[in-house]
Structures are given as structure tokens and as C-alpha cells.
């Protein structure tokens, strides 16, 4: 069979993988942003106990590989009777990982707000909450957009690791087809294109968004 036929025949399967990759990424990213935001708010407002817990979580999550986190969730936890299906493990794993990256992204933005801006806010009598609401958050979110955008791309790529827990996303689909039909060239080509279709436009959009948001807040 010609390479083109091989590719054509595999497309329906890849399409399923593609959709799954997108869907899992989407949920993972939304979840990560929520978790990250919560952690970074806990830190910003120095909520006792909870902020320390969040800090520990961030360090554990950032300094261990997703693959090992997934192995734990998927293979090790059920030993103690805590069992989730693969997709759920994948999403939880991705959120567990992504939450800390997003938290760092938000923190970086909040920390990046110029000290003079914070002091100016204080000087006109803003309370801590008002300072956050009118000065630190609006500017901090803008500053954190580039880091968040990089994290989004990173998390989408990380879904390729879901292959180890038998989630039929893009990478899993390709590796599986290779194992059955041995046409690695063709399948890997489709795989790379699959990721390119998601990531190239996304990265362009995110860059534009960065510029717009930045212009909106700082005018440059």
C-alpha cells in the first residue's frame, strides 16, 4: 500500500485521538488555571495554613515528572482501593501538574507589579483587598499572560504522556498503529502534523493575545 493510503486509512483513528487530546487538554488547562489561581491567591493573601499547604503542593508537583504522577494515580493508588478511570486519572494528573505551573505564573505576575505602584495605592489609602482589586490584579494578570500562555502549550504537549495509561489520545494512537502495522514513518508524520495543527495556531493566537492584553494595560 502506498504511504498515502496508509495515512488515509488511519485518519479516522487519528481524528478520534485528536479530539480526545483536545478535550483532555482543554479540561486540564481550565482545571490548572483554577487550581493555580486559588493557590496563588492563597499565597497573595497569606491565608494561614492553606497557603503553606499550597506551597508544599506546588513544590511537589513542579519537581516530579508527570509520568510518575500518572503511574501513581493509575497503578499505585488502586492498590489501596482508590480507583479512577484512565481519562480521569489523566485529567487529574494534568491538573495536579499544571496547577503548580499556573500558580507560579500568576505569582510571577503579581510579584512583577512595580513596588512603586503598590506603594502609591497604599498612599491613597487603599485597603489590602482594594489594592489587590484595583492595582495588583489588573496589572499582575497582564504580566502573567506570557507565562500562562507558555504553560498552556506545555500542558497540551504533556498530554502525549497519557499514552502510558492507555488513553487513546494522539500519541497513543500512533504508537498503537505502529505496533500493529509497522508503518512508523507514516504514522509519526500524521502524529507530528496533528500536534502542529493544534499548537501552531494556538501559539500565534496566544502571542497576539499577549500583545493586546499588554497594550490594554500598559500601552506598549
Amino acid at each position: 500500500m502506498s504511504s498515502w493510503q496508509i495515512i488515509q486509512q488511519s485518519l479516522p483513528l487519528f481524528e478520534k485521538g485528536f479530539v480526545l487530546t483536545l478535550w483532555l487538554s482543554f479540561l486540564g488547562i481550565i482545571g490548572s488555571i483554577i487550581v493555580g489561581l486559588i493557590c496563588s491567591l492563597l499565597k497573595y493573601f497569606r491565608v494561614p495554613v492553606l497557603s503553606q499547604i499550597a506551597a508544599v503542593y506546588v513544590e511537589i508537583s513542579r519537581n516530579t515528572p508527570l509520568l510518575v504522577q500518572l503511574f501513581f494515580l493509575y497503578y499505585a493508588f488502586p492498590v489501596f482501593g482508590f480507583k479512577l478511570n484512565a481519562e480521569l486519572c489523566g485529567i487529574i494528573g494534568l491538573i495536579f501538574l499544571g496547577g503548580s505551573y499556573m500558580a507560579e505564573g500568576f505569582n510571577g505576575g503579581f510579584d512583577g507589579v512595580a513596588k512603586t505602584q503598590v506603594e502609591t495605592g497604599k498612599a491613597i489609602g487603599l485597603s489590602r483587598i482594594q489594592l489587590a482589586r484595583y492595582v495588583v490584579f489588573p496589572q499582575g494578570f497582564t504580566l502573567s499572560v506570557p507565562a500562562l500562555a507558555a504553560n498552556i502549550i506545555f500542558l497540551i504537549k504533556e498530554t502525549s504522556i497519557f499514552t502510558v495509561i492507555a488513553i487513546p489520545e494522539l500519541t497513543n494512537t500512533a504508537l498503537d498503529l505502529i505496533g500493529m502495522y509497522y508503518r512508523s514513518n507514516e504514522y509519526l508524520l500524521v502524529l507530528v502534523i496533528g500536534y502542529a495543527i493544534i499548537l501552531i495556531p494556538l501559539s500565534i493566537i496566544l502571542t497576539l493575545l499577549e500583545k493586546r492584553v499588554r497594550y490594554g494595560a500598559f500601552g506598549n
Binding site: 503511574f71 497503578y75 512583577g112 500519541t171 499548537l199
Partner: protein
């Protein structure tokens, strides 16, 4: 039950083997990092040159490694390269190569970013005393870029180390692959062994990466403090 499971680690040579696997991981990461960081610095410098074609090529190189997930890169290099180009390398070397090229791509961007954020007047002062381009990079820009880029570089290092966990997918006897062997070989005696084996691997990665992240963060904080006066 759980505390009996932990003994799986002390059965036979299991623990030593796990550390052996870790050593393989670290070795690959270390060699790849040394090569990748050096290459990355060179490419990063080239990316600040005015030549458009050169910049385009290097940009494409970066984007390729940015867009393709590492798992896929590993398979690409492991299967396609030898077949198409007739080069044949054992898995460890393929892995080292992939990680080195990936590191170089990411590093080139870090270096470029640091170089262009060295204040413009530093570059101009260098030119004003008659330094040529090479001298300008050698004495003025690169030394200053290094301190700017160090935290990002350390973070890249931790990412590379974490990502070595994917080596298990291409027949490298890394710590996770050894872990799987241990799990399989001790399955019946230690049903909860899987928890402890993956547990210790988790701890191993954390033990390597955490000090590095901590260091990077501390430097970043210092830099911020300095910037804020």
C-alpha cells in the same frame, strides 16, 4: 499491609538496581545538558545576529522542538533516523541526542532573551570603545547575559531531568524501566509493591529537582529585589 510492601525495595538487589537505573537517567541527562547548553549558547548568540536567513533557520529549529512533544521526538529519532539516514545509535545515545537538541533549542531562546535584555547602552558603550562584534559578545554581552539567564537555565535543567522519565518508552534501562522490572518480578510476594516502587522513584526525582528549583527561585528573588531597588 502497606508496611510489608515497602520491603520490596530491600528484596535482593532491587534497591541497588533502582539506583543503577537512576544513574542511567542522570548520566543521560547530564551529558545531554552539557552538550545542549553549550550548543544552545552558540545558537542563542547566532540568533541575535542581523542575518535574517540564519535567524529564520534557527527560529524554525526552535519551533520544531517546541511544538513536537518529547515523547514523539524520542520515537522520531529512535525509529526514523536510523532507517532514513542509516545512522545507527543505541537507545541511550539516541536519548542523549534528542535531549541535547531539545535543550539546545530551549536554551537558545533563553540566551537570546538574556542577550537582548542586556541594557542597550552596555552594547553601545562597548561599541564606543571600539570593540568588534566578537569582543563585544565575549567581554560585555555574554558575561552579563549569564547572570540574567541563570534562573531560567536551572529551570530548564529541572525540566530536562523530569522529562527523562520518558526514556522508558524507548528501551533505555532508566529508573522507571527498572522499576517496572522490579514490580513484575516481585508481584506475587508484594502485591502493594507497585506503590512503594513508584513511590521511591517519585522521591528520587523530587530529591534531584527540588534543590535545583529552590536555587533558581532564590536567585530570581534576589534579581527582583535588586531590580526593585
Amino acid at each position: 499491609m502497606a508496611h510489608s510492601g515497602i520491603n520490596v525495595l530491600f528484596e535482593g538487589r532491587n534497591l541497588i538496581r533502582l539506583f543503577g537505573g537512576l544513574w542511567t537517567t542522570v548520566e543521560i541527562a547530564a551529558v545531554a545538558l552539557v552538550l545542549g547548553l553549550i550548543l544552545g549558547v552558540i545558537l542563542g548568540v547566532l540568533r541575535t545576529f542581523p542575518n535574517r536567513l540564519l535567524r529564520l533557520v534557527l527560529r524554525l529549529y526552535l519551533e520544531f522542538f517546541r511544538i513536537v512533544p518529547t515523547v514523539v521526538l524520542l520515537f522520531l529519532f529512535y525509529y526514523i533516523l536510523p532507517k532514513q539516514l542509516g545512522v545507527n545509535m543505541p537507545a541511550n545515545q539516541v536519548a542523549t541526542l534528542v535531549f541535547a537538541l531539545w535543550t539546545a533549542a530551549e536554551m537558545s531562546d533563553i540566551v537570546r532573551g538574556a542577550l537582548i535584555s542586556v541594557p542597550k547602552h552596555q552594547r553601545e558603550s562597548g561599541m564606543a570603545i571600539g570593540l568588534n562584534r566578537l569582543q563585544l559578545y565575549r567581554y560585555v554581552l555574554i558575561p552579563q547575559a549569564v547572570s540574567l539567564e541563570l534562573p531560567a537555565t536551572i529551570n530548564l535543567v529541572t525540566r530536562v531531568i523530569k522529562t527523562t522519565s520518558l526514556l522508558m518508552l524507548i528501551s533505555v534501562m532508566d529508573v522507571i524501566n527498572v522499576g517496572q522490572q522490579v514490580v513484575e518480578a516481585n508481584n506475587q510476594k508484594y502485591p502493594t509493591g507497585v506503590f512503594w516502587v513508584y513511590g521511591i522513584i517519585f522521591v528520587m526525582y523530587f530529591a534531584i529537582d527540588y534543590p535545583l528549583s529552590w536555587w533558581a527561585k532564590r536567585m530570581d528573588k534576589k534579581r527582583l529585589e535588586r531590580a526593585n531597588g
